[in-house]
């Protein structure tokens, strides 16, 4: 499973979506239960799965699934 597929799977799991609904353009406004707390749950799940740690600035900058994927890719590359 590649990075994008893994992120998609986690996003779908946290926000109770079908994986086919998780596009890079998906934003918090488009998901009813994507609030500040569920975003933190998402980040924790991502960090545990990829063994990375995002900064608060990075966490606050997550405004779409695409942005999240780019952040994860950057951190995975670094580690």
């Amino acid at each position: 499973m590649d990075l994008n597929e893994k992120v998609t799977e986690i996003v779908a799991d946290i926000f109770e979506l079908d994986e086919t609904e998780v596009a890079d353009e998906l934003t918090p406004d488009m998901v009813d239960i994507w609030d500040s707390l569920s975003q933190l749950r998402l980040v924790t799940a991502i960090e545990q799965d990829f063994d990375i740690k995002l900064s608060m600035d990075e966490i606050e900058s997550i405004d779409s699934v695409g942005r999240l994927k780019r952040l994860v890719a950057e951190h995975v590359k670094l580690s």
């Binding site: 707390l37 933190l40 749950r41 980040v43 924790t44 740690k53 900064s55 608060m56």
Partner: protein, 175 residues
Amino acid sequence: MKLGQIARRFLIPSFVVTGVYLVKHRCMVSPKAEVELNKLISLGKGTDISSFAKLKANDGKLTVGENVSIGTCCFISADQGGVSIGDYSMVGPNSSIIGNNYRYDQLDVPICLQEKTSKGIHIGENVWIGAGTVVVDGARIESGAIVAPNSVVSGRVPKDAIVQGNPAKVIFQRR
């Protein structure tokens, strides 16, 4: 209820209680809050107790630190184990912090007549408890933690953790 306790609870006008806490402890207790004048209750400087909050201490200490904010309609009850809330903590409206339990091991005795137990509750400094949260006896919330609204805390919340749910679980570690 002892006679002195009845007198303190029902005969002392609330504005007197507000005045005593303001002068003696330099904290603001709303005249509409219910905080009895009791040696077991200690409120720190700059602490604010909002209207309709009720603070009681029966057989143990209720210690509230400095600059603590207790929201409207909160209920805080301390028993033998005591309840302590650290400096700069915030307790959101409609939250309950209940420092005792009833035993329920005798089926033929009404629960309210069975023995009370109290392990106590510790809430550290700079803790933010969201509205509607229930903190039950034995809970320990370490400094810097955040409890999401409507959570139920019964165990230990690690330092700087954000917890949510019933039972409250760590969803994020502050950094």
